[in-house]
Every structure is written in C-alpha cells, then in structure tokens.
C-alpha cells in the first residue's frame, strides 16, 4: 500500500458510533459491521482528505504506548479495500 494514497469511505457507507452497542459500526445498504476498537479508531481518521501516512502519525500520537502502528494500519486498510468499504485515491 502506498503511504501517500488517501483512503475514503465508498459511496453509500457510513461510519458512526452506536451507544447501545458501545462500538463504532459501518453501515451500508442493508448491512452493518460492528467494528472492534482498533478498526473503529482507524476508520475514525479516514476522512477522504488525509493520506495514509498522516493517519498513521495521528494514531501514533493518540496511542503513544502502542509503539509503531504502520503495519497494523496498513493491514487493516488493505482489508477494508478488499471488503470494498473504502477506496484509495
């Protein structure tokens, strides 16, 4: 994955916090994915504006005890592309 690329939710996908489920979810036509903590934290930074390397830097600042996050973030974003949740431009 190119760190310079910018991830964006695909059209029709919505990311939001669900208080009853106490988690972030991804909503799309007739579907919903309940996201775990790290997936939720990563997608919360996907705004269609900032490239992957900036997202990684932001998350590393948010979670200073987690160590380097590039590999995890890239792996999750690759998976999200595979699921057709996001697209990279």
């Amino acid at each position: 994955m190119t760190l310079e690329k910018t991830p964006k939710l695909r059209r029709g996908f919505r990311f939001q916090w669900e208080p009853v489920q106490q988690s972030h979810v991804l909503l799309y036509p007739e579907g919903m994915v309940k996201l775990n903590g790290s997936a939720g934290a990563i997608l919360a930074e996907v705004d269609g504006v900032r490239p992957v390397h900036e997202i990684i830097r932001t998350l590393e600042q948010q979670f200073p005890d987690a160590g380097p996050l590039a590999a995890d973030v890239e792996a999750f974003l690759a998976e999200a592309v595979q699921h057709q949740w996001i697209e990279l431009s």
């Binding site: 695909r10 059209r11 029709g12 919505r14 939001q16 669900e18 009853v20 489920q21 979810v25 909503l27 799309y28 036509p29 007739e30 579907g31 919903m32 057709q84």
Partner: protein, 377 residues
C-alpha cells in the same frame, strides 16, 4: 414468558412496512393474502414515534417497504425524521411512482440507499409478472436516476421458474445500469408465493444451470476488475438443512406492519400467534416482554428432532412460518431439514417442480380482487 434480562439483544434492524398498497401485482408478493381487508395505516406522527423508540433501543438499519412505500405522501418527512435520528435509511421500491424530482428530494432528506426491484431482464416478461404494462421502462429510467443522484445502486430480481433462464441477461442489464450490488433472490414461499408455489418453483436442473451462469459471470466480472457484487439466494427447498431464519426469532429484526402490528419477520402475521400493536404498547415492551416476541426465543419450545439436535444453535430449527405452512404446526422442525418427519413435503415440491407446466397465466396475481376472493369465506 418474559425473556430473562440481558439475554435478548437489541432490535438492530427495523423494517417499516408503510403500506400494503401497491400498483404492481407480483404473484410472489410477501404481503398477507388478506391484505385488502387490512386498510388501516399508521399516520405520520405514529410512524415517527415508532422510529424514535426503535432508534433509542439501538436500531440502526431502517427499511421503508410495503406494498409500495412511494404511495405514502409523507415519505419525505419520514425519511428526514429517520435520518435525523441516525438511521441508515433504505428505500425498497418497485420504482413505480418514482420521479427524478423525488429521487433528488429523498437525497436531500438524507436517504442513504434506494433498492429498485425488477421482475425480469426484458420488458415483456417483466411487465407480465408485474401485471403492469409500463413497469419495465419506468424501472430502467428510475434505476438510472438513482445512480445519477449518487446513491449506491442495489438492484433486486426475484427469481422463479419463468425468469431463471435469464441470469446472463439480467446480470448484463445490471452491469449496463452500473449497479453496485445485485440481489438475485429466489422466491421464498410465503404469502402469495406459497399460494403460487407450483407455478413459481424452479426445477433442480434449472437451478444448477442458473448457479453455473451466475458463477461464470462472477468470474468474468473479477477478470474485468468490475466491483459489482452479485448475491444469489438459492431456494431453501433444495437444501437439506434449514436456514437460520431471521438470525433467530426476535433476535435482530423487528417489522412493523402498516397497521402498527409488530412482528419478528414480515411473514409472521400468518402464524396463529397474537402479535402486539405499537398503538397499545411501547416498542420496548413489545420487543422484550410480549408473549408474541418471546414465543420462539431460546430453545425450550422445541420438540424433537430439534430438541436433541446438535445443530439447533446454528439454525434454530429453521423457519416457523415454513413449519406452519407445511405441517400445520409452527413448533415443528422446518421440513427443509432432512431430519424432519415432514421432509417428504419438500421432496414432493421438488418432484412437482420437475413436472410443472403452469404458465404465467395460471398464477394468482396479487391484487385486491384476488385478495378478497381468497378471504371471502
């Protein structure tokens, strides 16, 4: 009958059947056979109240369906209300009654997704099944308008013995319309489709051929790098184990019928169970405490062979409506299961499908006249 607190999760999906009115007459309609005698509909404020209650309980996915939901003049208001509450809003429509202006207005109200249903890939068959002469052309125009307005494009085709040979044509049409998702949903035999089962159910040979075509088309899409998702729902009548219907009774799905009757699925109204109405009880009471919703929760209600079956946590004994329609007792194992003592009824339906000769003219079309005829006596 109250379920122990903490064991029942929230109703994450809410289906609002706004009306049973519809300009089409599809012979596989999932509405009740006696829909014509149930004319009462909740008003706008009552629907908004249902939506507020559902959202507070955790519902996130909301479907507006019917009938044809577009006949409700207050649809834009309901969409706007739902979107404001935080729902992901799906409109499930035939496309009849839709205009480019409405597509735009719904987008402005915050509608997330419009699913347009088709009956076939060509106008003659489509219009014959729909019982409407202008349906196909209108559907094409509206599918294009939906796409142009930037919605994700989901096209739905109900598949039966009269259009199951059209898989390649249907998928080519979807690609031509630039669909993002295609649902090829084989008829489920409830409501009008159960009444017409012999005239609708494909033969095993037809099904095998269709699956091959769909898989071939999927490979082709992948090779061409085209991200159109194709979902093919095969008929459970050709399975040996039942489907985990609705992911479990009263587990995720809550349907509210036009008159406010709350149901664990849109077919459950046919069961001999008293279901509560949102006009006399809160949605919370209905979901967690009503006898109707607790009736088939858990597994203590199960007779054999389900009771001692090691797969009961996987499929919950299948579908209660199917058990009722095929055996006369909704407690029984879904006869789709080869362990069911009533599995012969499924086998008989398969044999009938191999020899069926009924044409489209022999089907009973879903309209007010037929509904009243069926329920006069």
């Amino acid at each position: 009958m109250t379920a122990p607190a903490g064991q029942v999760g929230p109703p994450l999906w809410l289906l609002a059947e706004l009306t049973y009115r519809c300009p089409l007459q599809c012979p596989y309609c999932s509405n009740p056979l006696d829909y014509a005698s149930q004319e009462h509909e909740l008003n706008t404020e009552q629907w908004l109240d249902v939506l507020r209650q559902g959202r507070a309980m955790g519902a996130a996915q909301l479907g507006f369906s019917g009938g044809e939901p577009l006949v409700r003049q207050d649809l834009p208001e309901l969409i706007a209300g739902a979107r404001e509450l935080g729902y992901y809003t799906n409109l499930i429509t035939s496309g009849l009654g839709l205009t480019e202006g409405k597509v735009q207005a719904f987008a402005e109200a915050g509608l997330d997704h419009i699913q347009v249903s088709f009956q076939a890939s060509d106008p003659e068959l489509n219009n014959a099944v729909a019982g409407s002469r202008k349906a196909f052309e209108q559907k094409l125009a509206m599918a294009r308008a939906v796409k142009a307005a930037g919605y994700p494009m989901v096209l739905n085709f109900v598949i039966h013995r009269h259009n199951i040979h059209q898989m390649n044509d249907i998928l080519a049409l979807c690609e031509n319309l630039d669909a993002d998702y295609v649902e090829l949903a084989t008829c489920q035999y409830y409501g009008w489709a159960f009444k017409n089962r012999e005239g609708l159910m494909p033969s095993k040979a037809q099904l095998v051929q269709a699956e091959q075509e769909v898989n071939g088309y999927r490979d082709d899409l992948r090779n061409r790098g085209r991200p159109m998702k194709v979902i093919f729902v095969t008929p459970d009548y050709y399975e040996e184990r039942p489907k985990a219907c609705m992911n479990g009774w009263g587990n995720l799905f809550l349907t509210v019928a036009p008159d406010g009757t709350a149901l664990p699925c849109h077919s459950a109204r046919l069961l001999p169970i008293d279901f509560p109405n949102v006009q006399s009880q809160s949605l919370n009471d209905i979901w967690y405490h009503s006898p109707g919703f607790n009736h088939y929760r858990g597994d203590s209600w199960m007779p054999e062979p389900c009771r001692s079956c090691d797969e009961k946590d996987k499929d919950f004994g299948g579908c209660r409506c199917q058990a009722y329609l095929l055996t006369g007792n909704a407690d029984n194992a879904d006869p789709v299961c080869s362990k069911s003592p009533h599995h012969d009824r499924i086998l008989a339906a398969r044999t009938a499908a191999d020899h069926a000769t009924a044409g489209l003219d022999d089907l009973i079309y879903r309209n007010a006249r037929n509904s009243k005829l069926l329920y006069r006596g």
